[in-house]
Amino acid sequence: MIAELAALTVGFVVSLLTMPLVMKFMKMMGMVGIDVHKKDRPSIPEMGGVAVLVGLTASVLLVMFLMPEKVRLLMSFLSSALIAGIVGAVDDLRPLNARIKPLLTVFSGIPILLLGTYNPRGPIFPIIGQTRLTIVYPLIILIAMAVTSNAVNMMDPFNGTMSGTCTVITIVMILSSLILGREDGLLLSMCILGPLVVLYLFNRYPAKVFSGDVGSLSIGAALGAIAILSRLEAVAVVAFAPQIMNAFYGLSTIGRLYERREVSRPTVILEDGRLMASSDPHAPITLARVILARGPLHEREAAQIFIILSIISGILAIFTAYLIRVTT
């Protein structure tokens, strides 16, 4: 438990110290984004996810030092997050094609396959138990890493939604690891929890920093890697339900992979600053649009609903972990 607590502390402190420096640097370099959901449209520093990656790297390196027997596991975890982070950084600096980006995130699953740190027999489901998907599982891993990283990337419509919902998912992973006795899941989740909390503190409404794709893709890949490396795939599918919903609705309404800048905005801003669902039939049906269909809301309230939904799916995910324990 000492290594887990040390990872949490180091990840949190390093990210906390790095974030203001990253913000200052991004502002200096002109790497700012417009907060489109505010009436005064303020310029916010981008790529705050760099501080998350620095914090994550520090905590993983510390655990490698404390637990040398876990080096392979930690290497595959960190490499997955870093590869997705590099793809995100490239996209932040020079926007990638909507089809190329998901394809590149597939590579974040390669370290897990090369280092052989996954369960070769396949995922474990409640009721069914251990599956035997020896041949197709490596392919599923590559697809799953692309799905988690891109689903998290698409779930960033309001201040604090991506960082808040991912913090909830990480806590769910920790609790599920405790229920199922998955020590690796606990260790890896503690490594990412500290940097995620820091990102949430800076990214929550009103945002002081945007995570950028460097943050969202790497966080998504890290969570996907935790699910695979700790055999918590079924738990993760349920915990990721809001992200899956959001990505799936968007993709199914547009009918192809898309970038936010390519399609009509799913939400519109009213004169009083509240957000409303767009009635444009060509706009994607995203989770934000569905939430706002009942009437306009302030950004802070809409972001709160996202986090509450994540907590509800988290409770179902914990129940899924319990089902795995009693039925398999």
Partner: protein, 92 residues
């Protein structure tokens, strides 16, 4: 706010229950199924995987349709609500 959360909670619960029932169906019905006339184990296993995959696709389709119907229904009733007081004023 509570109504919006409730809408999604119902969808999430429905989708989760469907997932559990689907897993039970795969485990209890599809996997033990003996298909008469097929002696090749590989072909039989492939058919079972195809049926299971079809079940997953049906689950996703159902999930999408529920939310699609919910979204357009809510949006239209909201638009009606917003238009109706204006109409009354015009008539007055």
């Amino acid at each position: 706010m509570i109504r919006r959360i409730l809408d999604f909670t119902i969808v999430l619960l429905f989708v989760w229950v469907c997932m559990i029932i689907g897993l039970w169906l795969i485990n209890e019905v599809i996997v033990p199924l003996k298909i008469s006339g097929i002696n090749n184990h590989f072909v039989e296993a492939t058919l079972k995987v195809a049926v299971s995959a079809g079940l997953v696709l049906f689950w996703l389709w159902l999930w999408r349709e529920i939310v699609k119907v919910m979204f357009w229904h809510t949006l239209k009733s909201r638009e009606k609500e917003m238009k109706s007081p204006k109409k009354e004023n015009d008539e007055a």
